[in-house]
């Protein structure tokens, strides 16, 4: 069984009188441990799709299973718990908590989302900071970091809970291309290390080429699925 199974998934937004079909009948399976990207022009529905997979938004029709759970009709609280247990997020704008240090940012989900004991927590946070190469900066505040460094910390935060799946909506949009490639490379090596599934969206063709499976979205429909050898 695949980690993600989507069948006839659709999402319609009601903007005043007009209904916007952001996703029309998308069906796909994503296996555990894969490195997937969704690409497509602006407005093609990448964010909408990722939000549904991430249980931040519920589909208007169709079926969606994530980690063998039907996520189409979770309550606000159930969805939060599900995300906390299974999904890590990496954002376009990094979204680190400004008052917390690098260490505390990575520790945050272990305290506020999952209830880890202090000793295990420390071990886990340090391991992740080491893995993303940010151990030296542990005591810095996010405002003292570069964009690439922030995204590294964000990746550590997404992985610290041992999430099965990490979703990254345009994780490199705010980075220069060299840094962007390093961030994608880091995600890839994290996939090797922790066997986590990564799904990211982008409209940068060079970044897109780093993925192993590429879904191309046009106007809310999946036009093409391409598998590249890694």
């Amino acid at each position: 069984m695949s980690l993600i199974e989507a069948n006839g998934l659709c999402k319609t937004y009601q903007a005043g009188d007009i209904a916007v079909k952001a996703i029309k009948e998308a069906s796909f399976n994503i296996d555990a441990g894969s490195f997937v990207s969704f690409v497509g022009p602006s407005g093609s529905g990448k964010s909408t799709l990722l939000n549904m997979i991430g249980c931040l938004d519920s589909p208007s029709c169709g079926e969606l299973h994530v980690a063998s759970t039907d996520v189409t009709s979770l309550s606000q609280k159930e969805a939060a718990i599900f995300r906390g247990e299974n999904i890590g997020f990496v954002f376009q704008d990094f979204n680190l908590i400004p008052v917390l240090s690098v260490y505390e940012n990575v520790e945050y989900p272990l305290i506020m989302v999952q209830n880890w004991a202090a000793a295990k927590r420390r071990e886990q946070v340090l391991e992740l900071l080491d893995a993303v190469g940010m151990k030296e900066q542990a005591d810095k505040l996010p405002s003292q970091l570069s964009g690439g460094q922030k995204q590294r910390v964000a990746i550590a935060r997404a992985l610290v809970t041992n999430a099965k799946l990490v979703l990254a909506d345009e994780p490199t949009a705010n980075l220069d291309s060299a840094t962007a490639h390093r961030v994608i490379d880091l995600m890839k090596s994290m996939r090797e290390k922790f066997d986590t599934t990564f799904i990211f969206s982008t409209h940068d063709p060079k970044i897109m080429a780093e993925a192993e499976v590429i879904y191309t979205l046009v106007d809310g429909s999946i036009e093409n699925k391409e598998e590249l050898a890694s």
Binding site: L56, K77, I81, L100
Partner: protein, 415 residues
Amino acid sequence: MMNILKIASKNLMRYRRRTILTTMLITIGIVAVLLFISLSGSFRALMVGQITDSMLGHIQIHKKGYVASIESLPLTLNMKPAMVEKVTDYLSERDDIEAWTTRIKFGAMFSNFKETTSIRFNSIDPEMEIATSPLLPGRLIQGDREAAFVEPGKIVIPELIAKGLKVKVGDSIVIVATNREGSVNGNTFVIRGVLEGISGPGGRDGYMHVDDARNLLRMEDNEISEIAIRLKSSKNLSKIHKEMSTYFGQFINKAGKPAFDVHTWEKLSPFSNIAKMIDMLDLFIKVMLVAIVLISIMNVMLMAVYERINEIGTIAAIGTIPSRILSLFVTEGLLLGILGAFIGSVISFIVVYIMNVKTISFSFGRQENLVLQPTLDMNEVLMISMVVILVAVLASLQPAWKASRMDPIEALRHF
């Protein structure tokens, strides 16, 4: 929980200026309330003390109906010896009574041989009277405060009459009175003191020795108009008053009506209305404090939520459950409340301490150099602090609720 506290306090530190301003507002509010209550309480205690300790006592007992017609000082409504004995027997049984005094009150004519005016007298046993009204000699503005308050042949007159008829200590004057049978009698007296007037019934009366009054009024029996009682502690006033009312309520006169009236000073003095006003003001300023805390915390927390929408979206997206987001913001409000309450209480204690060291005196009417001794009741401080903290939590509930209900996608899109 520890961690929520830690994160909440870090957020308060992040917006340091706003935190300081809000805390200051709460602090100032608490200091203002505590100082007001402290000062008004000490003023109240002082004024009540003046009234009870120099004139009324805490409780007074009369024959039924006397107080209703006290303006005319009716000798016909005096208590007969049998009644007086019932009261004094009862009073000597109780061990919560400091002292009592018996008074014959009557109206008379006062003459300096040229002019005549009317005067009201309390005739007393000076030792009993001073034990009951220890501040009475302090009201003497002429005459020796240390000497026996009155002696046979020597009287104390109110300031008003001393001024009006231009008499002074040492002068001889004549007092003429009509007794209950209607016969008129007069005697000469020497003025031994002039008494400052105070507000309330009996505040402008003169004093003479009880033996003189019996003589003047040709009283054979030990008749008494009024018995004033001083309690060991005024805290038990209403309890003791209740017990006395019940006890004396059992005595019935020939007409089948109660024989005695038992009144607290509050029922006899107009100042009790001022005391009630002070209590009202206390309440009013407390309500103001609650409003200040409510509005300032609500305002600052709404701002905190509005400024951190993106952050709320982030922590919600990564799986923080709504109730935890709620408690994060409520904790910020709670900390603001605790901080304000604590600093406010500490400052209030310091200011009250300084006021006691520096001695604040003031004048009230003709009374000068009244010294206020403000105190802060620990229970009152704790009560007000608790209310402030509770209100701070209540005020942050609505903004925190708003934060916890946010849709993460909407929130993440917000800048």
